[in-house]
Amino acid sequence: MKKTQTKAFANLVAAIILLVFEIWAYVQTLGFKIVKKAAVQPATFPQIMCIGMMVFTVILIIQSLLKLKNMKEDDPLAEPAASINIFKNKGVQAAAFVIVLCIAYAALFEVLGYVLVSAVVAAIIMILIGKRDAKQIALVSVLVPLAMWLVFYKLLTVNIPMGVLQPLRNLIDMI
């Protein structure tokens, strides 16, 4: 197996990405408000955290480089790394699709309302992962969000957005 497909190489790549993030997070702290005569500045704690992260990220980079140099076949880090190749792995494609669905869910939560957006997303995911029983899909995807909305709205008095299904709330209120 190529070294670039091992867990050790994946660790190296992850650590480099993390290091870039940590440097960015540290640079951000330089713009935080400075308070005169304060023993600890608002930036101090985040800076300590960034430095802590950097130290252990550098350690991870060194560990990964050393592993890649002297890797034995039976080393746990010589095993193949998990794939995030969206073009080659169907599972990753499906996971990416669920992520897109979740983002759409958050964006449409208030506009369409919890029940509708949940029913649509639940039905799409069920179909995506191979559920083919239309009756079951329809029942589960509609009844579960509806029941949860009723529990939260009526029993726990938590106001959940209903969006386009607002008339349903009015109906329940009347009952």
């Binding site: 608002p42 960034c50 991870l60």
Partner: protein
Amino acid sequence: MNWGLLFESYGAVFFNPQVLLMTLIGATGGVLLGAIPGMTATMGVALLIPFSFGMDLIPSIGLLLGIYCGGMYGGSISAILIHAPGTPAAAATLLDGYPMCQKGQAGRALSIAMFSSFCGGVIGALIMTFLSPLVADVAMEFTSAEMLMLAVFGLSVIVAISGQSISKGLISAFFGMLLCTIGMDPTYSAKRYTFGVKPLYSGLAFIPVLIGLFAVAEIIAGVERIINGEEKQETSNEKIKEVLPDLKTIMQIWPQIISGGIIGTFIGAIPGAGGDIAVFVSYGFNKSFSKYPEKWGTGIPQGVASTESANNGCSGGAMIPLLSLGVPGDAVTAIILGAFIMKGIQPGPTMYFDKLDTVYCVFAALMLANLAMLIVGCAGVRFFAKIVSVEKKILYPIILVISLLGAFSINKNVFDVGVCVVFGIIGWLMNKYEFPLSPILLALILGPMCEQNFVRFMDLNGGNFMAITGHPIAIGFFVIAVGTVLFSIYNQQKINKREAAAKAAAKAAEGK
């Protein structure tokens, strides 16, 4: 100790039908609410307190304590079954509870959680009964220095829960601590990492991050596994004959139950520290002193017992400063304090002289609440355990829509749904590249406590950190923290060596 009055008070509580009924209703509500991701015991108590307005003091306290204890156990149900802790105090239960569920032992894990919760609660109630003035005196010695070092001690557990790579665990922990700094600085109100996004001013809410990292990440990974044909459907062939753990299991877990109960009670007694901290401290402590630390995190009963006894032990601990000093130990006891005041009773040192019968009745009510939780738990184990046998293709979408609703319900804010999704993606990626998620959780719990007390301590001492040497309890915590880290590193090396040897042996056997 007035033994006669103590027995009389226990009798008055245990043989009062109204108290019995209210405590049972409270425990049922608590278990059900706690099992919903995002609904905490605090929310449950806050929601149901209006129902106690018209009652006498003891039935209303019974109702509230029932919710409190039930909620603590209820949180473990979703942690074990769907990898989404119902409450922050159940966050560590998933470390071994969920793997047990994956092994087809969901019912066993639930019964262990329930039994350990009950025992932890009883230990807390007993310590509260006999040692409350003493424990309260020690807890009230805590200044910012002690609180800071308590947080450091809590964080030292990170090494124990980091898994194979300590560097990755510590990166996760620092990342979690960095996340805590998002929002307005608690001391000077300076904006940090807010980028002009107003909902970020108050920082990231803990529950949506928790739900995202564990539940949403698990669903994304589950969908990926199903498509790749790697997902196994748990058919729950487990036959639950007894709803309580068998004698053999009890013999295995009793040391963890006792130590967890004591740790939980002590941490619960410290104002500002609660079940969410106690569970990790108990888990780390018990793992460090285990004969086989390598098995922790793979689904062993001891892991579930150590956390569940600690979080219910906290319920007794949190009542100690409330009754003896009038200072609530956590958010739930703050609400219970309100219930006392509404009834015209001011908890505090004088209560032990003026209203000793009421104090003893509260002790008894806590004991009863734990018993009610056990009864409700026993009745529900078989039903809860069936959830895992629901087809994954149906279960995953259901968990997703319930989890995202849980994230919303905390602050009734759509922004939290977005936060939950973002952390779902982060959790999925971190799982893929074997960065442990539990240290983030611990850091999110302890980060704000650590920073606030660090700033307060430094301000009070003119920036001289060495002034901490004048605080013996703080130094004690620091020494224990250093010891825990060193011991955990030693343990992890032992685990890595054992695993390597086992792999080599397996390979040699294959070769033959």
